[in-house]
């Protein structure tokens, strides 16, 4: 009786054997690098409601919401990605202009849980974004890279300014965010992140941008240096990456 015997030697191509050994090594390297990653939390603001003052300069927080503040979290029913969110409306005592503030903290900045940019969460809630600009705000005695947006939904016209702090410095744009996360991960570090967003209901781009800058200045001046460095990060240094 004959049972077909398969000789393992001749049949398998050398290339196949090499390929498999090579990939076993690659997989091992990968597993090692992944297990080495440890979270580093530098931005935790425990009890944001108390840390961020109710009154900043000429601005005072109000209990009512002039307009519902857009939730930075909501992205068509995806995961809850933030550990803490602060949403407040501030009104200027003299000019009565209103600014909406939203600060979101996420302890885990892996890709799946990283901070959603307002470019994503506004359209997800029915807004149309018709302008995205990269500007600089004069804050904390340095230039802060800020992204400004104009979003409309029905008759609601909203000007938004925001930045994202990751680890210890500000990152702007998805590519920068991904690059930083990836380079840190290869070094075995996973950082936390914070979204600082201010917005105002208005039809005028110029005055809104100035207003958002002034409010941010007032807010950063009224918090302690340690909180300030968490809200705007440290000036980026090359060695940070």
């Amino acid at each position: 009786m004959q049972v077909p015997v398969v000789s393992a030697k001749g049949r398998f191509n050398r290339l196949v054997v090499w390929t498999i050994s090579f990939w076993i090594v690659v997989a091992a390297v990968c597993i090692y690098l992944q297990h080495r990653i440890t979270p580093r939390h530098t931005l935790v603001l425990r009890g944001m409601e108390d840390v961020i003052p109710q009154s900043v300069g000429d601005w005072a927080a109000v209990a009512y919401e002039a307009a519902p503040i857009i939730n930075p979290e909501q992205q068509q029913g995806l995961l809850e990605d933030y550990d803490e969110i602060l949403s407040r409306t501030y009104v200027n005592r003299r000019t009565h202009t209103e600014v909406m503030l939203s600060i979101a903290y996420g302890s885990d900045q892996s890709h799946a849980r990283q901070i959603h940019k307002p470019e994503v969460c506004y359209p997800a809630q029915g807004f149309v974004i018709d302008s995205v600009q990269r500007v600089q705000f004069d804050l904390a005695s340095r230039q802060i890279p800020v992204t400004t947006l104009h979003a409309t939904r029905g008759r609601r016209s909203e000007y938004i300014g925001y930045w994202i702090v990751e680890g210890s410095s500000i990152v702007r744009g998805a590519i920068e965010q991904n690059m930083k996360r990836m380079l840190l991960a290869l070094r075995g570090i996973r950082v936390d992140g914070l979204l600082f967003r201010v917005s105002t209901l208005s039809d005028d781009s110029m005055t809104s941008t100035v207003l958002l800058e002034q409010f941010s200045q007032a807010l950063l001046q009224s918090v302690s240096p340690s909180v300030r460095s968490k809200l705007v990060g440290e000036p980026a240094v090359a060695s940070d990456l």
Partner: protein
């Protein structure tokens, strides 16, 4: 006992048919199971990416179909070896960076150079298209990065919303639009990303390519025309879907449109797109046939 013997020999023979192929598949299963498991909970879990696992399966089926074990060389030439090394090295970098840096596009995308480097050098004398097409097709299962999708999604949504409003308005429905918000009677509807996105176009483009590949034709012009026509077809299918959802909301209420009928509208999109695709193909064939008659 004899029965068992013959059964096991039958099994061995089955594996002998495409043995090298199965070894490679086993390697892929080991390497990509965690990557795919991760995709399943995030990128592929989105309704507009539902096609991706199907594309993956179809690619492997096409590769399996075109693989010829008898054409696996016992020796590999220097050029093939060099090609394989370069591809595998690239794949390894993508795989490590993607997995460690948590970028699923890279981690999963590395499957393409890996396959290029391990499958192509192992097939001699097979028409290169037979091997390249499944790999090219596999590209459609890689999640598109946000920086490509986001800027294009908004204008596409606006266009779909505008076309829907024009059609329904002409048909006498009380409909108005502000950006991507539709106001129909007492209802307010929002054209979501999934309804009009680039990802739907991407899915349908994959469908078009598969159609062209499965129903092969000698005419290259026909193949190109069909792949190009997928763009307007995708738009039309999306408009049809949104109109269907509007009508469901108008006649049966909000709850109906959000429940089962929403799924139904998704199926309608694909049925509509496939019908249009086949229709386009048939009319192209008809025109081609008439032209040959005329030139005679």
């Amino acid at each position: 006992m004899t029965a068992l013997m013959s059964a096991s020999s039958g099994l061995l023979q089955l594996f002998n048919i495409k043995r090298t192929f199965f070894v490679l598949m086993l390697l892929l299963v080991c390497l990509y199971t965690p990557v795919i498991a991760d995709l399943m909970t995030h990128e592929w879990a989105k309704p507009e990416s539902g096609h991706a696992p199907i594309v993956l399966a179809l690619s492997f089926w096409l590769m399996y179909r075109n693989w010829q074990e008898s054409l696996v060389p016992t020796d590999v030439t220097a050029t093939r070896l060099a090609f394989s090394l370069v591809m595998q090295f690239m794949a390894a970098i993508l795989y490590i960076v993607g997995n460690v840096g948590d970028i699923s596009q890279l981690a999963y995308g590395s499957i393409i150079p890996l396959l290029l480097g391990s499958i192509v050098p192992l097939q001699r004398g097979v028409p290169i298209g037979k091997l390249i097409f499944p790999l090219f097709f596999l590209l459609f299962s890689v999640p598109l990065p946000g920086f490509i999708v986001d800027p294009l999604t908004q204008p596409m949504k606006q266009l779909v919303a505008a076309l829907t409003v024009n059609i329904l308005h002409a048909a006498g429905f009380p409909i108005a639009r502000s950006g991507v918000m539709l106001y129909l009677g007492q209802y307010e509807l929002q054209v979501a990303d999934a309804c009009a996105g680039l990802r739907t176009l991407f899915t349908l483009e994959a469908l078009g390519l598969l159609y062209v590949n499965l129903f092969e034709s000698s005419s290259r012009l026909r193949n190109i025309l069909i792949v190009v026509m997928v763009v307007p077809i995708s738009l039309l299918a999306n408009v049809t879907r949104v109109i269907a959802l509007c009508l469901i909301t108008y006649y049966f209420g909000d709850a109906a449109a959000q429940g089962f009928l929403h799924q139904f509208a998704g199926v309608l999109l694909f049925v509509c797109a496939l019908t249009l695709l086949i229709g386009a193909d048939l009319s192209l064939r008809f025109v081609a046939a008439r032209r040959t008659v005329h030139s005679k």
